[in-house]
Symmetry: C2
Subunit: 320 residues, 2 copies
Amino acid sequence: MPEDRQVSVIAGGVGAAKFLRGLLKFYPNELVTAVVNVADDFHLHGLSISPDLDTVAYTISNQVNPETGWGRTGESWRVMTELEKLGGHTWFSLGDLDLALHLYRTQRLAEGATLSDVTREICAAWGITANLLPATDAKIRTQLKVLDKDWVDFQDYFVAQQHSVPITDVRFAGIESASPGPGVIPSLEEADIIIIAPSNPIVSVNPVLEISGIREVLQRRKETVVAISPIVGGEALKGPASRMLEELGYEKSAVGVADLYKNIASILVIDETDAALSSRIESQGIQPLVTDTIMSDPERAAHLAKVTLESLFLSKEGPL
Amino acid sequence: MPEDRQVSVIAGGVGAAKFLRGLLKFYPNELVTAVVNVADDFHLHGLSISPDLDTVAYTISNQVNPETGWGRTGESWRVMTELEKLGGHTWFSLGDLDLALHLYRTQRLAEGATLSDVTREICAAWGITANLLPATDAKIRTQLKVLDKDWVDFQDYFVAQQHSVPITDVRFAGIESASPGPGVIPSLEEADIIIIAPSNPIVSVNPVLEISGIREVLQRRKETVVAISPIVGGEALKGPASRMLEELGYEKSAVGVADLYKNIASILVIDETDAALSSRIESQGIQPLVTDTIMSDPERAAHLAKVTLESLFLSKEGPL
């Protein structure tokens, strides 16, 4: 395993966080950059909340709640319990420890710091030496067109309505004028491997790719890009990715993922469960790689990360 | 004691809160209106914080920390402890329970509610039947000219610098365009007694009086107005009131308070300690009333409230 190579990972929330934790278990952390989705970011109670950045930071600093995959271990809920008594919004649960992070971020943004600055500060405070980069410092917001209704904000769909309503379209408000965050394009240009983490292609990966210039780098460097399918056996392990693919006209399987990534990735890592889809994926023009993609513990996640790295390095250099 | 009369109290923070709790122990709560200072309100961590309104609400709903006189009893500090690890601002301590209130207020204001609306909602949630009114729904901010320096915000002076620096001037930014909150003028017009609570005259009472129309009502209804001196034996029981009086050219005693209130109040309640100042207060054109003003427990506060009510009602009607 060549361990002097730059690795850049396009990341959403829980799946990406688990993958990154696996990767960082064995790979030099300072060689790893995560370009993280911020289109789920939102404001509540006056606070700036960045769910994907937080989930990744909590997970790779080993502070994440292992039962939920998000939020903090040892979390408490005094503020939310009290807020509930006041009749406040409690549909998005914010633990006491988690709130501290949102207070910090909100105050720093009010002081003029960028989201990139704040993320760097949080990483420093928690000893994270991997590079965690918001995909953009601009405000972009995923909105979903809900069947027979208006556009709704992502968190309203995802958390408040528990992604129970069919969607007909997705947009990322503000993305036309958003520039990639500092370091994002250089990281993708200089990476020896670009990994698209097993995140929701529609609402986690796409709002990164759609930021000016990012998809173009991946298209140009397609031979360097390996994607991991978040769909296993036709279902997402977590969240609505599978239903979303179907509702937006894609096959709800690793083949649908291949369809989405065929112009920007040369390899698609799929689960053993989906081995039979290999030829259909290959006919999309993307090379399937079958392995165990279920990251039920950090060791299995590390194994998936190793196989992912080796796939590309092997194909370039032969067996180690 | 006639208990069918409307009582209006101009209130700052801790001293006013204790006085109000004493009053509400025996007086029909729905006949009492508190017009509360909001010029100490500020933003921190993205949250809208209203220290005086909160102190009054916590105190009269018997949720206040009895040791400090502010904040909540049974408070915990998980969020602040975690925020400190991140290097965030912790100079203004926000307990977990307290934070819930700030989250609630901030969210409601973002949704378009006024501070008066939010205050009413909080009172309803906590079973407060006295009328708690922000002096204004507009944003006004106390600023202090610090010796040889620029203007600083109140919380920076009061909490961050622990009011240790001399001041040369006070202003209330935004007050020129501020209107009294809904119900404020009617309450003062209709009150059978208007009480100026034992609060800091410079930074708690003045930013209420300076709001358009309020001082005028008190001037016109001066015979209905009783003030309570927050200065006892030349010192404030809490906070910098005494130093502020002196720094701004007033005598730092109940006489200085009389000087400030002589055109808007007919009676000044002073502590037994200051009985010897009676003739000097009288020569300011305001009638002194000597009693125990130290509100070390709710019973003593209730006694002070009774004496205050009786002073005016007695002088109008003779002994009960």
